[in-house]
């Protein structure tokens, strides 16, 4: 026999207005195991909680039911109350008679009847509750950041500042990301490199930060506080401890290929650093284009290297590292606008993307900042900028708004006018400039820099002499427009990083239909994933500009810092449990588990006749398990259960509600 105490809350008039509290109390008093019933005006208030604690002690209650608001609201509050009175916090159930009853059913008779049923459900369930203990696990005081763009760099600096060690894994030869490719940044027009490169240097010099460039995350095991990550250090063929970054090797290298960093506008060598300010400023050999790797002859770089750091027989290396938390900051890619055949991208050299224009206008870019158009090197006089290329187009592109294009197109228009007095015609669907100083910046483009904004889409771009004719429509005037341009810039969409879904599967985090990573809650948990211990920063979660990315990186870093500064982590005890006695070891539960928390193990047991046998059973890793209960339904013998939501619990609830 249990001694259940039922506490019925009035919630002022919120519940008492439409539910007859006295009737509920009288009905509750007759329910099995109920030893005590009390009502309170506000059970969640300090006197209300004190009343529960007092009753637990005086009435020797061993289970508590609170009939009040939603458990999503105050379950934790009342767990603490119950815990404070010396009872196990999990010997509590909430009957939701406010959100699910008094607020939605104005009929007092029917509402009261339902409230009684809901209380009975909780009374039946709580009788089956058992004390549960939170376990504590150790935390590896070290963070992993995947991606060395501005998001990763900012997060690394913040975490390192708090005294925690960080490893940044970056797949390209240098940190810096897309921000390093940009020329100026909106809305202040300060140069991207001037604000980024000092941060890159800080990251490189910080004692707490380890940079692993030219590396990729291969495998992730473990759980919050205790991740084991396998990192592939790709063969650089350069000994970074010896190399001084003098640059003789790449000046002597005879193989010239187009540069990924310059988006094909410039050239690089087969041994290269992607850009002059690269960190680390140590080259890598691109095996695909290196003459030695192709023909077995050359080795020019090795011959000329004054420190002897070139090694052609270096192999990829797999290292295993332990981390307590992970921040994913893998960023975005610019969408390839080729599906828009009418714009002629790829067909006409002078049709370029916004990011390509950034390289063209960048002082450290292939043209040293001179806006020479790719076809003949002439300075353009008239430029057409087409916005929403890919964005907001479900048919050819992506359904969402890329958020940054309106602003960077305005920036391009300003730069073109400022640098070479070129006139810009911007074709747009809508101009979206929410952000501090953003609308003013757009106004500046139109008013001070005389950019012509035309509301409408371009239907076709074709060559006429050395001009590109853009046919479009001004939908505000309802007129056809024809602009003869020297250069066409496509404000192409921001899309997910290549291989985003594969990395998500490696990490066990979720992603949306656009392959952006999903945050735990769109509003209240924007930097956390649903996998505990893994956080998000920057454009890998969705299109973002630099200020937003930096803010999110700081937020993710603070989450990591607070996680790593805990001596031990408490785990939620509502996890799956195996009844080994009846488990058949079929492991049907294993593939259904989204957290890889179930594995097989072998138990030894004595059977009749004194013989000892071995048989396989399922085993749950309680630290990995999130308590979803998918395994329980897959289990054919009923050996698998979720604590707090066992089969017995739910069947008892069904029985209680059907009485």
């Amino acid at each position: 026999m249990r001694r259940v105490g039922v506490f019925v809350c009035w919630c002022g008039s919120n519940i008492a207005g439409t539910v007859d509290i006295e009737q509920v109390k009288a009905a509750a008093a007759k329910m099995p195991n109920v030893a005590y019933v009390e009502d309170n005006k506000y059970t969640c208030s300090e006197p209300g909680q004190a009343a529960i604690q007092k009753a637990i002690k005086e009435q020797k209650l061993d289970r508590v039911v609170v009939a009040a608001c939603s458990p999503r609201m105050h379950e934790n509050t009342f767990r603490r109350t119950v815990g404070g009175a010396g009872l196990n916090p999990y010997l509590l159930e909430i009957a939701n008679i406010r959100e699910h009853c008094s607020w939605v059913h104005p009929d007092k008779v029917a509402g009261t009847r339902k409230a009684v049923d809901l209380v009975r459900r909780a009374v039946y369930k709580v009788a089956k509750n058992v004390p549960l203990q939170r376990a504590s696990i150790d935390v590896t005081k070290r963070a992993l950041i995947i991606g060395g763009g501005i998001a990763g760099i900012q997060a690394a600096l913040d975490i390192a500042d708090a005294g925690q060690p960080v490893v940044v894994v970056e797949k390209t030869p240098s940190i810096g990301g897309h921000m390093a490719q940009l020329d100026k940044t909106f809305p202040t027009l300060d140069c991207s490199a001037c604000i980024l490169t000092p941060k890159m240097v800080d990251a490189a010099q910080n004692q707490n930060i380890t940079l692993m460039t030219w590396s990729e995350v291969e495998k992730v095991d473990g759980y919050i506080g205790n991740f084991t990550v396998t990192i592939r250090k790709k063969a650089r063929h350069v000994d970074t401890t010896k190399c001084t970054g003098c640059g003789i090797c790449w000046s002597k290298c005879p193989a010239k290929v187009s540069s990924e960093f310059d988006l094909g506008i410039g050239k690089r060598k087969a041994i290269y650093v992607p850009f002059p300010q690269a960190i680390p400023n140590k080259p890598v050999i691109d095996e695909k284009n290196c003459i030695f790797f192709k023909t077995g002859k050359c080795k020019a770089c090795q011959m000329f290297c004054p420190t002897g750091s070139i090694s052609f027989d270096q192999k990829d290396e797999l290292v295993e590292e332990k981390f307590g938390a992970i921040i994913v900051a893998t960023g975005y890619e610019q969408w390839d606008p080729s599906p828009y055949g009418e714009y002629g991208y790829g067909r006409y050299k002078d049709v370029i993307t916004g990011l390509e224009f950034e390289r063209l206008v960048n002082a450290s870019g292939p043209t040293e900042g001179k806006i020479k158009r790719p076809s003949d090197g002439k300075l353009p006089k008239d430029v057409v900028i087409i916005q929403c290329v890919g964005s907001r187009d479900e048919a050819k592109g992506i359904p969402y708004c890329s958020k940054t294009c309106c602003m960077y197109s305005a920036k391009h228009a300003i730069l073109l006018e400022e640098k070479i007095h070129a006139h810009s015609y911007v074709f747009y669907m809508d101009v979206r400039t929410p952000g501090k100083g953003y609308e003013e910046f757009y106004k500046r483009a139109t008013e001070e820099h005389h950019a012509t904004y035309i509301r409408g889409r371009v239907s076709r771009v074709y060559q006429k002499g050395d001009k590109l004719v853009c046919l479009g429509e001004d939908t505000l005037l309802g007129k056809k427009v024809e602009v003869e341009a020297d250069l066409v810039i496509l404000a192409s969409a921001m899309v997910h990083q290549n291989g985003a879904s594969k990395l998500a599967q490696t990490l066990g985090i979720s992603y949306d239909q656009n392959e952006f990573y999903t945050e735990a809650h769109a509003k209240l948990r924007p930097v956390e994933t649903n996998t505990a211990g893994i956080f998000l920063a920057g454009a890998c979660q969705g299109p973002k500009d630099i200020p937003e990315t930096v803010a999110q990186a700081g937020a993710a870093a603070s989450k990591v810092i607070s996680l790593l500064s805990k001596p031990k982590l408490e785990t939620e005890p509502l996890v799956a449990q195996v009844n080994e006695a009846i488990c058949s070891g079929c492991l049907w539960c294993k593939p259904i588990c989204p957290y890889k928390a179930i594995d097989g193990k072998v138990v030894k047991e004595r059977i009749a006749g004194g013989k000892t046998i071995e048989r396989p059973v399922a085993a749950v890793n309680a630290s990995l398990c999130q308590g979803c209960g998918a395994c329980t339904v897959a289990c054919r013998t009923g050996a698998m259960n979720v604590l707090g939501f066992t089969n017995e619990h739910i069947l008892a609830e069904v029985d209680a509600l059907c009485l």
Binding site: C628, V633, D655
Partner: protein, 162 residues
């Protein structure tokens, strides 16, 4: 095929035994709802905080995930005299646990056939995806199911006489 879709019309009176006798005076359909904690339970809470009224015929049982809802619970509800059952969770793709509702979706495609095989009208079991922001949808779903059950009458096929 959606979970609530029906492949073929129920054939003959043998599969439709419960409407044979009229409902007793004052009978109200009883619905047991299984709602996942993250979406549908939150959606039902939102119906409350938005004061969206719906018939008081449903009683909700909170479970962690729609993937936790064993069809055994549904059968038990019918055995104990429930007239209808609502199984509800996050929209496919939005599962808090990534994949739970996908399993639920497949499982309840079969479960609906199973209860039909047992002789219960499959409309008595409704499977819906209701997010935490769809308080109105929760209310509409309950209203719709209550009306459907009112038309069908009491569920007697699986009900145990105790």
């Amino acid at each position: 095929m959606s979970v609530n879709e029906k492949a073929a019309p129920a054939a003959g009176p043998a599969t439709n035994p419960t409407t044979a006798t009229p409902a007793p005076e004052g009978w109200e359909p009883k619905i047991i709802g299984f709602a996942c904690n993250w979406c549908t339970y939150a959606g039902a809470d939102l119906a409350g905080t938005s004061r969206i009224q719906y018939p008081p015929n449903i009683r909700v049982i909170r479970v962690p995930c729609s993937g936790r809802i064993n069809p055994q619970f549904v059968v038990r509800a019918f055995q104990r005299g429930a007239d209808g059952v609502l199984v509800a969770g996050c929209h496919p793709g939005d599962c808090h646990y990534s994949t739970g509702n996908y399993f639920a979706r497949r499982r309840y495609l079969l479960a609906k056939r199973f209860i039909e095989y047992l002789g219960v009208e499959p409309e008595r079991l409704q499977v819906r995806w209701i997010s935490g922001s769809e308080g109105q949808k929760f209310a509409d779903t309950v209203r719709e199911l209550t009306e459907k059950l009112r038309a069908l009458g009491p569920q007697r096929r699986l009900r145990e006489t105790l």
